[in-house]
């Protein structure tokens, strides 16, 4: 589904990603872990088309297409979803209007008719139950005045609404208490299908108790320095990131 080859990216002349290689296939859950500043969020932003970064080298293909030349909205329409680490507040744009526009733009891209109002409300009610947020939030402005937990649950709600092929969740667990974490993880697990895939970016192993990854990659200083199965997360938790830093030095 996703092939990343030797991907390098910089911001303001500073290299952040220094040759990333990663393959993600349908049905897989990949966890990317790493210390602060290792480039985790940059990787998520580059894959979803944030224009702050300059791609200096490498290719990314998604479903056979050159991902890096696509506009952010076209990536979303083709099934890529980013769960934001810091969801953006947009005063004056209601959640309902935002989601209706997004759902219909994606439907239009697929050659489908816009969804009528009653089907849309039905879909909202169905998906909102998944993340246990108050339906009143739908009439509020996007993320405005939402609590930290509500913002993260709202990301998973949007993911449920848009049914992406590839979800990239950027530190969705940060700032969540254990109950909210379970709800978020449960939402992600419920949305898992054999034909879709997820990349879960996290600093801590905690989230991976609830979302069980098929692969764990450790990102350090812009490179994937270690890849293994889910046991790697446990090992990392026990030994700490210093282990990786030293390990990297050895190579």
């Amino acid at each position: 589904m996703l092939k990343i080859r030797n991907l390098s990216a910089s911001i303001d002349g500073k290299m952040i990603l220094k040759g990333i290689n990663l393959d993600v296939n349908a049905g897989e859950v990949h966890a990317i872990m790493g210390p602060n500043g290792s480039g985790k969020s940059t990787l998520a932003a580059v894959l979803t088309g944030r224009n702050l970064y300059e791609i200096t080298e490498g290719q990314v293909t998604y479903l056979g297409k050159d991902l890096l030349t696509m506009a952010p909205e076209d990536r979303a329409r083709a099934g890529i979803f980013l769960g934001f680490q810091y969801p953006i507040e947009i005063p004056g744009v209601s959640m309902a209007n935002f989601m209706r526009t997004a759902v219909n733009e994606i439907r239009k891209f697929k050659g489908q008719q816009p969804m009528n109002a009653s089907d849309f409300m039905k879909l909202i009610r169905e998906k909102i139950a998944l993340v246990e947020i108050d339906t009143k939030l739908i009439n509020r402005s996007v993320n405005e005045g939402f609590s930290g937990g509500e913002k993260k649950k709202n990301e998973i709600f949007q993911m449920a609404m848009l049914e992406p092929m590839l979800s990239i969740l950027d530190e969705t667990d940060s700032g969540l208490d254990i109950d909210a974490l379970k709800i978020v993880a449960n939402g992600v697990n419920m949305l898992k299908r054999p034909d879709n895939a997820s990349i879960v970016i996290t600093h801590y192993q905690r989230l991976l108790d609830y979302i069980v990854p098929d692969f764990v990659h450790i990102l350090y200083d812009g490179r994937i320095v270690k890849s293994a199965g889910k046991e790697l997360a446990v090992e990392l938790e026990a030994k700490g990131y210093d282990w990786i830093k030293n390990h990297d030095g050895d190579e």
Partner: protein, 455 residues
């Protein structure tokens, strides 16, 4: 020096215009109006059209607007048009009591019998001067100070008609009153109408003004509106300005509020070549509330200039101002706002805000919020922002599959939302929301340049 000579000749030519039509002007009006007319032309001779040397007009040169050749009519000119055609051209059609101004003249459009039974007067200003002299003379020219601004003096010297509205004590109007102010002619014209709106004690009214140009000629409108809100009265006053790029509009509104009155104004500048709104509020009684909102959307070479003055003359009054602007292409805008709190106006609450979005590097805004406070127990604040569309918000919308054009539109509409939301008449709010959306989509300008070929 050259500009100076030119300026003198412009003012002289405008005085000449008065002198050569003096008998027509004087014949058309009552003694009271004419006495003010003569004072006003004397005053105009002294101060003339404001120049960039005037602090309040320093960002825009009025000379080009006034120096064009315009026809000026000193009696009603017959223009063929059909009222039903109006609504095809983006004027909100609402359940209202409708008044029409055509090139500054009241256009007879049925009567308002049910309102007349309650003692309400609505119609021609010229007629009201004759039919209700006592009421008229008590207010006409009392609030619009000819010394303060040459444009007010110019209007007072030339105005012949306009709208007069009187709502008696204790009468609450159920329906909004809609004034459709049309300029339409086969020649370039200058229009100077004058409105007077008087609200009695404990009365309530909602007034909507739609400014519209219906032919492709160049127009200059220099209007003055005086509004009196008596004790404990309540007024919502919404203005939608939608003229074409060849139209210039200067609109000076003077609001005089007595104790415990509540006035909200909302000025939506959708379209127009040059728009200047002067909004002057005198809080002349205790416990008044004034809300003043404005939204301007401009592109190409359009210019929207909002100048406000809130005079807190009495204690325990609240004023709240918020103006927002979106400037695209080469458009420019000005916000010049002043809150004046006099020595006796203790316990004043006053707020003033101005937020702008510039969509291009060439768009421009000059913003000058200004407080002048002489009382010591007050709460006043002001603030201004100028920025671009929020990049993070843009990316958030795009990351959900929303195209960049649609995302920009959503963010601009959201920016405008705060102002439109203040409109209290729901059907009007919905219509204005539609119009703003259309405007931001660029669909309104087509209608504006159509010269009535809108069907």
């Amino acid at each position: 020096m050259y500009i100076e000579t030119e300026k003198i000749s412009l003012n002289e030519s405008l005085v000449d215009l008065f002198n050569s039509n003096r008998s027509l002007l004087l014949r058309a009006s009552t003694d009271h109006v004419n006495a003010l007319r003569m004072q006003a032309i004397d005053q105009f001779k002294k101060i003339g059209i404001p120049t960039k040397k005037d602090e309040n007009y320093k960002y825009y040169d009025l000379d080009p607007v006034f120096s064009r050749k315009y026809d000026v009519h000193f009696s009603r000119k017959k223009i063929d048009f059909n009222i039903s055609d109006l609504f095809k051209c983006d004027i909100p059609e609402l359940d209202t009591d409708l008044l029409i101004l055509l090139n500054g003249w009241y256009y007879e459009n049925g009567n308002h019998d049910d309102l007349m039974k309650q003692g309400v007067v609505m119609g021609s200003l010229a007629l009201a001067a004759v039919e209700y002299p006592q009421l008229f003379e008590q207010h006409y020219g009392r609030y619009a100070d000819i010394k303060s601004d040459g444009l007010v003096a110019f209007n007072t010297a030339f105005a012949l008609d306009g709208i007069f509205i009187y709502v008696p004590d204790n009468v609450m109007l159920e329906r909004p009153v809609q004034i459709i102010n049309i300029v339409m002619d086969k020649v370039d014209s200058m229009v100077q109408h004058r409105n007077l709106i008087v609200l009695g004690k404990n009365s309530k009214a909602s007034i909507v003004i739609c400014d519209h140009s219906l032919s492709a000629n160049q127009f200059l409108t220099n209007s003055v509106t005086e509004i009196v809100a008596s004790e404990n009265s309540s007024l919502d006053y919404t203005r939608v300005q939608n003229e074409h790029n060849g139209a210039a509009q200067i609109s000076s509104t003077f609001i005089h509020q007595l104790a415990d009155s509540r006035v909200s104004t909302n000025t939506i500048s959708l379209h127009g070549g040059f728009i200047r709104n002067n909004l002057n509020v005198m809080l002349a009684g205790k416990g008044c509330e004034n809300n003043m909102y404005g939204l301007s959307l401009s592109d190409k070479f359009q210019h929207v200039d909002n100048s406000t003055l809130i005079d807190h003359a009495m204690p325990n009054c609240t004023s709240n101002q918020k103006f927002k602007g979106v400037m695209d292409d080469m458009a420019s805008g000005v916000f010049y706002g002043k809150i004046f709190v006099r020595k006796d106006a203790q316990h004043t609450h006053a707020y003033q805000g101005n937020n702008n979005i510039l969509l291009t590097d060439d768009a421009k805004i000059n913003t000058r919020p200004h407080l002048e406070i002489y009382a010591d127990d007050v709460k006043c604040s002001h603030g201004a922002t100028v920025g671009q569309l929020d990049e993070n918000a843009m990316f958030y919308l795009q990351s959900r599959g929303i195209g960049s054009k649609e995302a920009r539109l959503m963010l601009m509409t959201a920016f405008a939302h705060e102002i439109i939301d203040q409109i209290k008449v729901d059907p009007l709010k919905d219509r204005i929301y539609d119009l703003v959306n259309k405007r931001l989509r660029g669909e309104l300008s087509r209608c504006n340049s159509c010269a009535m070929n809108c069907n």
